[in-house]
């Protein structure tokens, strides 16, 4: 069992899925010979052929559209959008078609597709390469939204996404692509798509996060532990549908919750979690629900992105202010 990075885990899951099921087809811009700009699809074309690993022309709306046609025919298309800053032209196809093909034909046709895309900031990338648009997708009926934050979860969740009979938006935090290594067994075992992943136990506060921010939440928890504050950390991982039960159970125990995400605050997915807490957690909340999020502005270019991105220090400060409520 080898220690691999998150992007290697993505690659491993893709290869596994392709080997297992000849209906799995991978395509997008530069996914073929080049193996993807982040190397997520490296080696796949050599192994599975140019008919199953296809470089498309440069047109994201088209990529999403053909995925729908292919999926309706029973293929398992796994399309890559090179960066989430370029995922917006696919929204029409996702919301108007992918998420409702099954419903609008009352089950006659379906759309088992996966749309993968690297997300998020922190890698000093060019403009439009650091976006976190997950909240938009969580508002769209009929789809799933998944964001792994470790190599093992990337492997297991991607396998699950590919095998799932409905459309899945699978967003991969670029900042974590090579940031950590983990032992991942190529077991072919998928992880469940509708649960949150508690990563650390604690009884003082619940830190809820996903994607690259999970690492900062864990770092904050370490630091807080040093200050005698025990933080529970939950990786939401599958944002839609949301496993609110796990979060509620934790907050019921801790009485405090800080939600951490990189996307802008307003109408970020943190709002949905906080709203559900306001609805179902009022009786056990000891303190206000706080969101540590990106600011309500455009994520800056490289020189200022560190000032925009939430970090452990901001999380710690927020938790400490919540500890004053009791």
């Amino acid at each position: 069992m080898a220690e691999i990075t998150l992007v290697e885990a993505v690659n491993l899951a893709l290869a596994r899925a392709m080997a297992e099921d000849e209906n799995v087809v991978v395509f997008g811009e530069d996914v073929g010979v080049n193996g993807g700009v982040f190397r997520a699809t490296v080696g796949l074309q050599a192994r599975f052929g140019a008919e199953r690993v296809l470089d498309t022309p440069l047109n994201e709306a088209m990529i999403a559209g053909i995925a729908i046609g292919m999926a309706a025919q029973g293929l398992r298309p796994v399309a890559e959008i090179q960066f989430t800053g370029f995922i917006y032209p696919t929204i029409d196809q996702i919301i108007n078609h992918a998420g409702r093909l099954r419903n609008r034909t009352r089950g006659r046709l379906s759309c088992p597709m996966v749309l993968r895309s690297p997300m998020g900031g922190g890698i000093h990338a060019p403009e439009h390469h650091s976006e976190s648009p997950e909240a938009l997708f969580t508002h769209m009926p009929g789809i799933r939204v998944v964001i792994p934050s470790s190599p093992a979860r990337a492997y297991g969740l991607l396998l699950a996404a590919i095998r799932d009979p409905d459309p899945v938006i699978f967003l991969e935090p670029t900042r974590l692509y090579r940031a950590l290594k983990e032992e991942v067994e190529d077991s072919g075992e998928a992880l469940p798509l509708d649960v949150c992943y508690p990563l650390r136990e604690g009884h003082d506060v619940t830190l809820v996060s996903w994607g690259a921010m999970v690492r900062d939440a864990l770092a904050a928890a370490d630091e807080l532990a040093g200050q005698g504050i025990a933080a529970e950390v939950i990786d939401v991982a599958t944002l839609k549908p949301l496993d609110m039960g796990t979060i509620l159970a934790s907050v019921e125990k801790t009485g405090r919750c800080v939600i951490v995400h990189e996307a802008p605050l307003t109408s970020g997915f943190g709002a949905e979690i906080a709203a559900q807490l306001a609805e179902q957690g009022l009786l056990f909340l000891l303190a206000p629900v706080r969101r540590v999020a990106g600011y309500d502005t455009v994520i800056p270019l490289a020189r200022l992105e560190h000032a925009y991105l939430p970090n452990a220090a901001r999380i710690v400060a927020e938790v400490r202010s919540l500890m004053e409520y009791a």
Binding site: L54, G65, I66, Q73, P77, Q93, T105, P165
Partner: protein
């Protein structure tokens, strides 16, 4: 200065507006059986269409998009395709859907505001009606990609309007079809109007067929009111696609004799004179004249067909109206293969009559 590429765009027509041959007819022109069958389909569509409009007027149906004057295109599409091909229709192609085997009551159900209409008994792999204009072309390219990867001799056929050709999705699909040599046929029902926007405000291109050139695929213009020409052109396009020779864009020239939909009043934006002039070219009368000229169709045949079509339509209406209403929970029961736990409380609340979980 060197000429590095050169293109011609052709128009195919066999019958003129009066139903007289204006070019040497292909075998189909001499095939009484097939031509009368095509004629029957066109008249059935027109009868269905008139009934649907009448039902909308009396509140028994929602907004409906009539195919009046454009029946030849859909009938030709439906007839030229094989059962195993896949149709991806716009909202104006009842003719194609009916010819492919979708039932009239299923179409009524859809236009009556009921999703069950698109769960038609057959052809099961055809796409549902596409309302977001132009997106169907990319789906067709995807379906064709599946055919190609699986080496199946099948063809995807997408139909859209002249307005649809302005969409990026139209171009994106054609371009992919060109570079991947996909088994797909793009059919444009050029009825000269996109609601109130005339063809000349839609594009500066002289023809829509020439848009194929941008994608490196075949493009051809055909008289869309001449069912013989349509079947010839579509048949060739389908055969080529099936043989692996790539995609074709077929521009079928016709005219929207009706309002855009029952929600529209075309008199606001176009001349009655124009409509009258174009009515002289319409496909049903044209084919009838030809059949009549060949001695293949009599006034009695016409009378009998009308009675037959009305009876068929009325029977379908009765079946449509006899169907029990949908259950509110249907809106959850086909959303995912299995409704995720997160939404079960909502479904339960809906079933109980309203409150969220």
């Amino acid at each position: 200065m060197t000429v590095v590429a050169h293109f011609d765009v052709e128009l195919i027509r066999y019958l003129d507006a009066a139903g007289h041959p204006c070019a040497e007819l292909p075998p189909l022109g001499h095939d009484r059986e097939r031509l009368t069958a095509l004629y029957r389909s066109m008249v059935l569509t027109r009868t269905f269409d008139a009934k649907a409009i009448a039902m909308q007027r009396t509140g028994r149906l929602g907004t409906y998009a009539s195919a009046l004057g454009q029946e030849a295109i859909g009938v030709a599409v439906g007839s030229a395709m094989r059962a195993e091909d896949v149709l991806l229709p716009s909202y104006r192609e009842a003719a194609a859907q009916l010819t492919r085997g979708v039932k009239m009551e299923e179409l009524l159900l859809y236009w009556g505001g009921d999703e069950r209409g698109m769960n038609f008994a057959g052809p099961r792999e055809d796409f549902p009606i596409c309302v977001p204009i132009g997106t169907q072309f990319t789906h067709a390219a995807g379906v064709a990609t599946a055919f190609k990867l699986r080496r199946q001799p099948r063809v995807a056929v997408a139909v859209g309007g002249d307005g649809a050709t302005s969409q990026g999705d139209f171009y994106g699909a054609l371009n992919l079809a060109g570079v991947w040599r996909l088994p797909v046929v793009f059919v444009i029902n050029n009825n000269q109007w996109a609601i109130s926007v005339p063809r000349r405000l839609q594009t500066g291109a002289e023809t829509i067929a020439q848009k194929a050139i941008a994608a490196g695929i075949r493009g051809v213009q055909v008289d869309g009111n001449d069912v013989i020409a349509l079947i010839e052109v579509l048949g060739e396009a389908l055969a080529r696609a099936r043989r692996g020779e790539g995609a074709t864009l077929v521009e079928a020239l016709t005219y929207r004799l009706s309002d855009h939909t029952t929600a529209d009043d075309a008199s606001r934006y176009r001349d009655a004179d124009e409509v009258e002039a174009r009515r002289q070219e319409e496909p049903v009368v044209r084919l009838r004249r030809y059949l009549h000229g060949r001695g293949w169709w009599s006034a009695e045949d016409e009378e009998a067909l009308k009675t037959e079509c009305s009876a068929a339509v009325e029977a379908a209406v009765a079946r449509y109206e006899a169907l029990p209403p949908p259950a509110p929970t249907d809106m959850f029961d086909h959303l995912y293969a299995t409704l995720p736990a997160a939404y079960r409380a909502q479904r339960a609340a809906l079933a109980a009559g309203g409150r969220h979980g």
